[in-house]
């Protein structure tokens, strides 16, 4: 490319999260950066959008030395992408990167993930997009080992493009740099959360619940993201938002009234 690529950055942990600050560091090596990210954590927001409420979106300066622009938005990750494209950016970005999420978005977590919803939203709008997640929920997670892979995969997407209708879901194991074995292209493991609820009674005597749960992977395949991560690889799953189960259309057509 002759000119620098324009990179839109967002996340779901909020604009001050270490994960997005590390992602910004990496992207400044690659191109021109604009950040539009939620003003507060949005984990578990799935592909929510704000349709019955107002949205605020204001410029912020978190790093006094920075020359790139950052905006903080009152909405969800998908709102951030919509607002960025329609109101903030003067041209279509060359890529949208989301994350680095504090915690896994592998397997079924993709459907609950605000990080991935931002990537999917960008994909719907025709922008190549990647969601990055590190398998470490803690605020002070070490993002250093992830950076090499984040940069490499972003450069690969800028070089090769992505087909219409596909974005990438990248998960990075919680390992020191010398223990990460490389990358694996994978399918989404057929795993799920087995819910539990912690039932309590509030001081006024009314019952309430906290969602808890255990992640259960019944999928023994060695081509899944869960397997790759368990073996020390960075997993890359191509994700589509045509949800049609094409292989079941014929059988459905044979159902009798």
């Amino acid at each position: 490319m002759n000119k620098k690529p324009l990179i839109l950055i967002t996340n779901d942990d909020g604009i001050t999260a270490p994960g997005i600050r590390n992602l910004i560091d990496v992207m400044l090596n690659i191109g021109d950066v604009v950040v539009v990210a939620p003003d507060s954590p949005q984990s578990g927001m799935g592909h929510a959008i704000t349709i019955n409420d107002t949205l605020y979106c204001d410029p912020v300066k978190l790093d006094p030395d920075a020359t790139h622009k950052e905006y903080t938005c009152s909405g969800t990750p998908a709102d951030c992408v919509k607002l960025a494209n329609q109101q903030i950016l003067t041209r279509k970005p060359d890529i949208c990167v989301s994350g680095i999420n504090h915690g896994s978005n592998s397997s079924i977590n993709v459907i609950y993930s605000g990080t991935m919803s931002a990537a999917v939203e960008a994909g719907v709008e025709g922008i190549p997009a990647i969601g990055f997640s590190l398998l470490d929920y803690s605020h002070d997670a070490d993002f250093e080992p992830a950076k090499k892979y984040v940069e490499r995969i972003t450069r690969q997407v800028l070089k090769n493009g992505l087909p219409k209708g596909i974005v990438l879901n990248v998960n990075i194991p919680k390992l020191p740099a010398d223990k990460i074995k490389g990358t694996k292209v994978c399918r989404q493991a057929k795993a799920q959360w087995v819910e539990d609820f912690d039932k309590r009674t509030n001081p006024m005597g009314r019952d309430y619940y906290w969602l808890t749960g255990e992640f259960v992977n019944q999928d023994k395949g060695e081509d899944t993201d869960e397997w790759a991560l368990s073996q020390g690889y960075v997993s890359i799953v191509p994700v589509q938002f045509d949800l049609t189960a094409h292989h079941f259309i014929q059988e459905l057509n044979e159902w009798e009234g």
Copy 2:
């Protein structure tokens, strides 16, 4: 079946919405009904779940003559399904039905849809599930013509089952009963929202936005849900939550570092 099927009902417009009241009417013809639905509208919530806040879930009696049980929940549609299965129902339901949504969930709307997120959540938990939507956003929409199709499709799913990993997205055109031509099994149309934002200034001088937009269907296929609906058919799309773009795995593997 010897005994009546157990039917879990939820929605995203809230437990008092006419759409779910009509859905309950239909399901009472078919089986034993338990309703667990949001206490307020949740449209556009996508597959959000409540992980950093408490959830309330209380019994309610909206119809004094009713013999079935209803619960209202402070969470999202996906929360309702999780809570129902884990805390309220004493056995796994035979089917979960969500809706009838006031407004379309065809095409790309499936990814923003709270109605469909409830159906997908049930599917993840191994319960056959259907999301129903009527192409009429108004509160006083006429749900009568939809009822015949809602009942027929629910009975078909109870009879035939659904494969693991697949739920149904059913959309019903806004037409009088004698103008609806029947049902069509379809794929999700490749359409999108072209966003616009209505930018305003609040009384304190701060800018804010309302999300607006126009639905644009570039997909000319005659096998899509948009096409079927435009022709007066009820559209049935089998929806999967393995989002892997399997056809792109090989090409991704050929990318060079």
